[in-house]
Symmetry: C2
Subunit: 396 residues, 2 copies
Amino acid sequence: MESIKDRVAIIGMGCTKFGEHWEKSFHDLVIDSCYQAFEDAGIGPNDVQAAWIGTNNGYHRGTGLMPLHLANIPITRIENACATGTDAIRNAAYAVAAGVYDIVLVSGVEKTKDYGFSGLPVSPPSYPEMAMSQTRPAVPMPSQFALMANRYFHHYGIDPKQGKISLAKISVKNHHNGTLNPLAHMRKEITVEQVLKAPMIAKPLGLLDCCGVSDGAAAAILTRPEIAERYRDDYILIKGLGVACGDEYAQTNPDYNWTYWKENIVAADRAYKEAGITNPREQIDVAEVHDCFTINELLSYEDLGFSPRGKASDDVDSGFFELDGGLPVNPDGGLKSFGHPIGASGIRMIYEIYLQLRGEAGPRQVSDAKTGLIHNIGGWPGAFTSAVGIFGRREA
Amino acid sequence: MESIKDRVAIIGMGCTKFGEHWEKSFHDLVIDSCYQAFEDAGIGPNDVQAAWIGTNNGYHRGTGLMPLHLANIPITRIENACATGTDAIRNAAYAVAAGVYDIVLVSGVEKTKDYGFSGLPVSPPSYPEMAMSQTRPAVPMPSQFALMANRYFHHYGIDPKQGKISLAKISVKNHHNGTLNPLAHMRKEITVEQVLKAPMIAKPLGLLDCCGVSDGAAAAILTRPEIAERYRDDYILIKGLGVACGDEYAQTNPDYNWTYWKENIVAADRAYKEAGITNPREQIDVAEVHDCFTINELLSYEDLGFSPRGKASDDVDSGFFELDGGLPVNPDGGLKSFGHPIGASGIRMIYEIYLQLRGEAGPRQVSDAKTGLIHNIGGWPGAFTSAVGIFGRREA
């Protein structure tokens, strides 16, 4: 097995504003994001030799990219729940690394306003067994993450009231960062007090501990480094990609601890090995972490090796993950503030890291960011897809 | 751009019986086909380092493979309409060629009995624009292929009655071949007269010109040739993979001729270039062609370079594509008789070529088959995904 390190370069990216795009179609979002990426890379649609589209419930196969009128190239649809975008990048990256294409396009897009939140089984016929089976998670998503929060507080002897304040600080941080991001869905400062007083969704998670769903799209142009050099000096390199899927729902697995996710640990380990990262807390300069719920960002700090086990709250309280902290996390606002168009989210995370590594993140720029990480998950506890990507500057 | 030729080997495959599996679940079909492939390759589930599942409307992301309890590996869902299976193989092949994994699993599966035929927009919210837009094909699938048949007969001055007899012969051939295949869905000899007298679906296509839909699954184990040698001497090599997607529905494209598909021609050209095939009629020993409707097999003979333009009927009438002909097509019965579980079909085609190249196809064995082709399409005319794969014996 060979590492993907330094074999694939990103030469252009694009991202739409995330939000409620009642006035735009799925295809409008595709065109906006892909043409941004084309222009950023200095290429046209006819330069693209293969494409991948990550979407959960939009257009099937390649029809989502039809309005780009790509030149009879292969187009593959990838679906991997909320980790769809990263997995689309990953499949495209392997095709580039294999040398079968020189320049490829990856598009992630979701128009949730047209079909509801695609992460839930809105279309029951798609999940015939799960709808009837005991192996199906018995509780909706916020409640599952709430179980993790309660178990985590109990396991580490954290006072639940104090724990909820740490969670609130994560939401406050991400909302603050989002105010600095013109593309973010919810650009509004919030306070710890507001988070604590927000309507309870699933104890201890209140409304402001939960991300919403958004419409939006993001896109990337990948190539090999020797080709990238023809287009720009400041391309970004993939340093590592690790993906791990769980194989049993946590509810039916008596060994499941609920204070960490094995999928995260395995995925991060693979990505770190590929990238040669041995001390992520020190070596990662900026990260995008899957904050669908505040507790998920908190636990992921530990699974990703950013914080010691049971100590993530301390790092939150000390401001370690804030924009001016030791390891800024979700500088773009994350899922909580930037938004969560399912199939686009993984590519949106990479978009932010791409900007940060190129020093183009404006008021939310992390100083001298050389190595960035994205963490993107999808599914149910115990059966998550966890995807971790490491990206670096050319010289990093 | 580098060719995929001889960089990826198939060391094991499996396929369930296709049919109406009221008594089996989606997961039953996955387990049956994947364990056949494991046993054929001489590996276990723990040897698999990454997996791809091709399915149109079954389980989303990797949950379709959960009962295999794979070891926290990455699992990607691929969807590409009726070409899903081949595209899943293609994405897996590129990852293997890139060297990032040594041994991977590809599963294609559909349980149409649980959710209807997934090729049609049974779930309208998934296709919000198409459902309202003039760009949507205005006629159902059989009618679209009927348009092609009528135009083809007209264009080449073929008497429609005679043309319909040629189409009927294709159905009779595939049904005959299917009687020799214990896994086939419809194992029944039919006559030209029966095809001609069958209820009309969309003139000139009658019931017996149309394939049905089936439940079923197929699976493959891919690796690199140097690793394949550790497992068996008689592995099969990928010689070429070409995929092309159309970019405009034929109904709205005045340039669309309806007697050929540009997607087929581009896909075949790419696959032939990779494989070094210059005269497919002579160099391909056995082929699986996407016979969703008899006219599709007929037109594909020409698009794939098996027959000169306008002359495919002559080759049908001379028996060129029959089991003992110059280029046997669909020796396993094809979609018409073997069946069509959407996401599995492309892998089923490769399964048959795999058997044929290894001399294991029993009573339907094509003598001394060294090079085989599969042709697998999905979608609507003008916006098809056409996938062509070439496979060869190790020494070929």
